[in-house]
Symmetry: C2
Subunit: 122 residues, 2 copies
């Protein structure tokens, strides 16, 4: 197919053409549906407002107005993002008197944030 392949075959004893590599990777990769789901999951962590909310809820459950005050973001904006996080099953809430107390609905949230943090903070 091209010289690189020939060189590789001789050099590394890897008798694969480009087509073979493609086929091999295709077999080993996750299903496309799974990757779309996965992208949607990471999308939740890719917005700073949502990430801040989840990061805060990692420390303690909190009602909506406290989240808004803590983060210095309007109540409406928080509410909109909480709606999305609930739809994704990452956050849940319960009513407690006048307040809606929010909390993480999934233990994975903490570990995903943690592994990301370990990367960012070197």
């Amino acid at each position: 197919m091209n010289n690189q392949d020939d060189a590789l075959e001789l050099l590394c004893d890897v008798p694969e053409t480009h087509g073979d590599v493609i086929d091999s990777v295709r077999r080993d990769m996750p299903e496309e549906d799974v990757l779309y789901e996965l992208a949607d999951l990471f999308k939740m962590f890719g917005d700073s407002t949502r990430l801040k909310i989840m990061s805060a809820l990692s420390e303690s459950e909190m009602c909506v107005c406290d989240i808004a005050e803590l983060l210095g973001i309007s109540q409406s904006a928080i509410s909109h993002q909480l709606r999305i996080l609930k739809q994704s099953k990452l956050v849940s809430s319960r009513r407690e008197g006048k307040n809606i107390v929010c909390f993480l609905a999934d233990e994975h949230v903490r570990s995903i944030i943690a592994i990301g943090l370990s990367h960012v903070t070197e």
Copy 2:
């Protein structure tokens, strides 16, 4: 501050008002700059094209045209996304004859994808 707090204090021996919870969470949360960085990191994994590229490169280094063929996405689109991934230091590349061979530049990429996968696939 309100009745819930009083109930909590009596019930759980947690003498915290809403304000105290906010202060406590604020102390324990990561710095805001870090959270913005972290959101930017997750943003890279939040687009299906970029995620597919990284997932493919998790299996094997590949040249641009093979990535495009594997994923069934135009060479131009792949190239644009690769540019972004390189800027974020998640992917690197070297020239090899006519081809540009791309590979993961960061071991964290695999672990981030893996932990996300473990969540998506239950």
